[in-house]
Symmetry: C2
Subunit: 151 residues, 2 copies
Amino acid sequence: MTKKFPSPEAIAAWARLVRVSRQLVERTEDALKANGLPPLAWYDVLHELAEAGEGGLRPFELIDRILLAQYSVSRLLARLEADGLVEKLPVSDDGRGQTVRITTSGREMRRRIWAVYGASIADQMGDKLSAQDLKTLASLLGRLRNPPISD
Amino acid sequence: MTKKFPSPEAIAAWARLVRVSRQLVERTEDALKANGLPPLAWYDVLHELAEAGEGGLRPFELIDRILLAQYSVSRLLARLEADGLVEKLPVSDDGRGQTVRITTSGREMRRRIWAVYGASIADQMGDKLSAQDLKTLASLLGRLRNPPISD
DNA sequence: TCCTTATCGATGCAATTGCATCTATATGGA
DNA sequence: TCCATATAGATGCAATTGCATCGATAAGGA
């Protein structure tokens, strides 16, 4: 960690970034709760698994994609399985592991969550900034990532 | 909640925003932990109280400034008090309430946290974007806020 | 004054999270 | 083959969080 201090612009941008993202996520979580739906993290997993298709994903692959701790994923999957939204299959060539696949009702739940989640994104982002501004925003944010995304 | 779907640009910007802010905050929290310092939330409170000066702040005023639930603030203040970083004073004209004031060691702790926090902001934001880009970013984010900030 | 309602802050309890560690299997070298 | 080490995933326990509610004081109207 370099020993130095941030510019006023960096501080202002940081504060905005942290505040705004918290507010947006919170509003979305509230909307989900209000509709009796599970938290965003569930969507993230269901989304990744839906993308992965029939082959499913190993839990450790999921850890890379959604950024959660190993134990968080382990428990999240246990809850999803208990709700019948995913199924765990033993994997032939690695006795330690398993493959997680989304079920039909998992896909159904994903759709129901998206109805609320997508609307929340539209309300909170699409309605506030033009397509051009959204691209600029994404690009600037991409440069903050680690590793940065140039696009 | 309007029933509609977000544009691809809105989805991309949302994903970036959520991911990047999570990553940045996480790295900062890790840096604090690595230096044996308390979480960011402590800094937020100490910062607000330092700004407020001798008069201190009522807990409910703190709730407005840092966006935390009432019970979170109540417990956070209890921990800060237990660590001698803040002190609670009865308030004369309202028997229900109290005034919270930062102590000398609270100011000291704030400085120590800032040494790490500020460096993290500089590393993660100041070094990645120009002052102009940081202003653009803050401005775009401001328009996502509720209520929006025009600047 | 009395009563109803609102506000301030704390807290019991259940659920969730974080940390450390565990079990089981895999891998690679002697 | 045997052993040391690494990786996959689960879990016990303590700390933290979220929800609901509580106790206490305040405010406002009848």
